[in-house]
């Protein structure tokens, strides 16, 4: 039974619906409010979408009520917004208040209501597009050309009181391009574009938005033709950049060219020439200027080769008793019986210092066998200029601490001066006075002196010249052999005359001029040496006994205190006291053989003569 009732009811309804459908009349479909917008925060409009028609004329009405109110209102204006719209005027619009609105569709058959829509005007703000967009190409004379665009805000928006705030955005593109170039313009109503393609037609658009809300639609496009002579000034920039870089490159090349040589020599020091036995302290002195330069720039010793060449292999000893040259350094001295050699001015052979062109290029022209110097490279340093610090100096001082004698202050090694007493001796010039700062070492061990073998040893220890060490050894050996042969020694000479040489002068090295080789004569002290030249206090370290004074104020020093006679050099004695204060060393001068034993102070096995003794003996 129940089933029958139910089916009957359904049948009836369907019949009724069929009848209605046949008639084509239905109540209206449900409308829907789909959009509400406020262009200026003072009015707003809502639009709805009607539902199905139902075949009958349908009336729509919008009703609303506001937050905090219970009264329902109807839409004040259905016209202004167009069909299916409701416009709310100023007096109906309130900010910060929710509107609850609803559309009612009514026709003959019935009515239907839309869903309620909650609207707050605050959040539906969308302005109209900006107006009056004008674009023009501006080409000022002294500035880059640009595209200038101007627009005005949409109407009905109150910007002056600050009720509404607008932000703008522009976009442009060449006519045929696919992508737009967008620029944000902030709150300004004008804009400049600088980078453009000449000869093209551009489209420009602008839009705006409130400080909190939706962007407007783009304004209609404005066309602008860029003239073909629109100069892109980037080329100027590139040209100036290229010129600047070219100038910089030229400067760099020029600087490199100027300094290139010195740089190259610094990086690739000249290859040292063949080493010559013996020491070549004089070479050092000779090449002082070069040494200085090299010292400044490089650690290498450029005149190394020179020094090698200047090494005096043999010291020519003059038999004349007046002339004894003491070699400054005693290299390792195998033969104890080395006698001071005298330089024979007449003997040309073996006089190396001047022979070697590198030794004294400006002074000696004659070729000579490479003389080997007795002097330890470090020791020999000619103090031409007191201020000049010879690169050797540090070596002198640092020489294993064995050469403390070097002037503490000046730390100059002075080459042994050549004492020209004996014309036979080949003392030509006394250029260098080398102070054998062999502190602990023996008194300037005379290579020639057999007693100076200790000195030789010390001198050898003194050798700090890496390069010269082996060579010097060989040189010493050869020297010894040669000494026996009485070959003259040639020592590098200082350029300065003897008189100017400051430091201790123990041995005179004569620069051998054309006629002779450098000869060193260890001088047997015969007479008290008059202080020929003032000795710098700091140089007043006496290593050897002064055997005499040459006529041109050359001190002849005798290396071996024992072998020499008692005569001590007075001058050195005088000068000794100040030097004794030298912190470097308390070396005593190589005493004269005749000095009382007490005068002889042996330090480390070296014989030094106490200058004080000299005074006694001489005075």
């Amino acid at each position: 039974m129940k089933e029958n009732v139910i089916s009957a009811t359904v049948f009836t309804l369907l019949l009724f619906l069929n009848t209605c459908l046949l008639n084509g009349q239905l109540p209206p479909g449900k409308p829907e409010i789909f959009k509400c917008r406020s262009p200026n925060k003072e009015t707003f409009t809502c639009w709805w979408r009607p539902g199905t028609d139902g075949g009958l004329p349908t009336n729509y009405s919008l009703t609303y009520h506001r937050e905090g109110e219970t009264l329902m209102h109807e839409c004040p204006d259905y016209i202004t917004g167009g069909p299916n719209s409701c416009h709310f005027g100023k007096q109906y619009t309130s900010m910060w208040r929710t509107y609850v609105m609803m559309v009612n569709a009514t026709n003959q058959m019935g009515s239907s209501f839309s869903d309620e829509l909650y609207v707050d005007v605050t959040y539906i703000v969308q302005p109209d597009p900006p107006l009056e967009l004008t674009v023009e190409v501006k080409q000022p004379e002294d500035r880059k050309p640009y595209l200038w665009m101007k627009w005005s805000p949409p109407t009905l928006i109150d910007l002056k009181t600050g009720w509404f705030t607008l932000l703008y955005e522009i976009r442009l593109k060449p006519e045929k391009a696919a992508e737009w170039e967008t620029h944000f313009a902030g709150q300004q109503t004008e804009f400049k574009i600088l980078s453009l393609h000449p000869g093209q037609k551009y489209l420009v658009q602008v839009r705006c938005k409130p400080d909190h809300g939706y962007w407007s639609a783009w304004s209609p496009a404005t066309f602008i033709q860029i003239p073909s002579d629109f100069i892109m000034n980037d080329t100027t920039v590139w040209i100036s950049v290229a010129v600047l870089s070219a100038v910089i490159c030229l400067i760099i090349v020029w600087a490199v060219a100027l300094k290139g040589y010195s740089m190259v020599t610094c990086i690739f020091p000249p290859v040292p020439g063949p080493k010559i036995k013996g020491f070549d302290a004089h070479l050092l002195e000779k090449g002082k200027s070069e040494e200085l330069l090299s010292a400044l720039g490089c650690q290498d010793f450029p005149p190394t080769s020179d020094y090698e060449d200047l090494l005096v292999e043999y010291l020519e000893v003059d038999d004349s008793e007046d002339q004894h040259l003491m070699s400054v350094h005693s290299k390792e001295h195998p033969s104890q019986g080395m006698k001071p050699t005298y330089l024979d001015p007449d003997t040309d052979s073996g006089r190396g210092s001047c022979d070697s062109p590198s030794l004294l290029p400006e002074k000696c022209e004659e070729p000579q066998a490479n003389p080997s110097t007795f002097y330890d490279p470090e020791v020999i340093e000619k103090p031409e200029n007191p201020e000049t610090t010879h690169p050797w100096d540090p070596q002198c001082i640092s020489m294993e601490g064995k050469i403390p004698y070097f002037h503490a202050g000046g730390s100059k090694c002075s080459t042994w001066p050549l004492i020209q007493h004996n014309p036979r001796s080949s003392y030509h010039n006394i250029t260098d006075v080398c102070e054998l700062a062999v502190g602990p070492a023996d008194a300037p061990a005379t290579l020639l002196d057999e007693a100076g073998k200790d000195a030789l040893k010390s001198s050898q220890t003194i050798k700090s010249r890496e390069e010269g060490k082996a060579a010097q050894q060989r040189e010493v050996d050869s020297f010894h052999s040669k000494i026996d042969q009485d070959t003259p020694w040639l020592l590098p000479q200082e350029k300065t005359p003897f008189g100017s040489a400051k430091p201790l002068d123990y041995v005179e090295i004569h620069k051998v001029n054309k006629d002779g080789a450098l000869s060193l004569l260890p001088k047997q002290r015969e007479n008290s040496g008059q202080p020929e030249k003032p000795r710098a206090p700091e140089n007043s370290k006496e290593y050897a006994k002064v055997s005499g004074v040459m006529d041109n104020n050359i001190l002849v020093l005798v290396p071996d205190p024992h072998a020499k006679n008692v005569a001590c050099f007075e001058e050195s004695a005088k000068e000794a006291p100040p030097s004794l204060e030298q912190n470097q060393a308390e070396k005593d001068l190589a005493n004269c053989t005749a000095t009382p034993s007490k005068c002889r102070i042996q330090l480390g096995g070296l014989d030094y003569l106490d200058p004080a003794c000299f005074t006694h003996s001489f005075h």
Binding site: G68, K90, Y118, T161
Partner: protein, 228 residues
Amino acid sequence: MNIKGSPWKAGSLLLLLVSNLLLCQNVAPLPICPGGAVRCQVTLRDLFDRAVVLSHYIHNLSSEMFSEFDKQYTHGRGFITRAINSCHTSSLPTPEDKEQAQQMNQKDFLSLIVSILRSWNEPLYHLVTEVRGMEEAPEAILSKAVEIEEQTKRLLEGMELIVSQVHPETKENEIYPVWTGLPSLQMADEESRLSAYYNLLHCLRRDSHKIDNYLKLLKCRIIHNNNC
């Protein structure tokens, strides 16, 4: 002639005149700086610029925070219906359109803004505390809430400075609407709790927009003399 009415008419006319004068005086912009120094004007401009920047920033943050919360928790569930009349600041006489705003006098306007700001100190504090205490605290919402709380304090300080410059004689008025929604935020029922958060964020978004709009209005009125 109605002799009886003329004194009344005269009196009412006089009253009208006086009240008009008084109103006009109220509406007219007061001197910015009592001393009239130019330097004072510039400083006020800077203060207003800064205040506008802050208020704009705070509203942006509030708007984002609300959107994120709605999207994540309450979208399409009709919470808006329960947000009607839920703001604690609705008792304040805030202007709701341009005409009302332009009729409001400067001093009251400034005091109103300060009141709104003060009334939000506590709700913001609790918002941060409660969101932080959630089991799965939404980081985006929490960070924004923290930032809003911070910037609101700064804005309040700036406003108090402005008030002291524009109306130095204003006596401190500490009256402001009190928020009582804390229990709602802590309710056990999720629906109710979500509704409470929704209302709070909805009101915050609205009030921050109000403050921003008011400040921009006042800036144009005070600094630029209605010629922005």
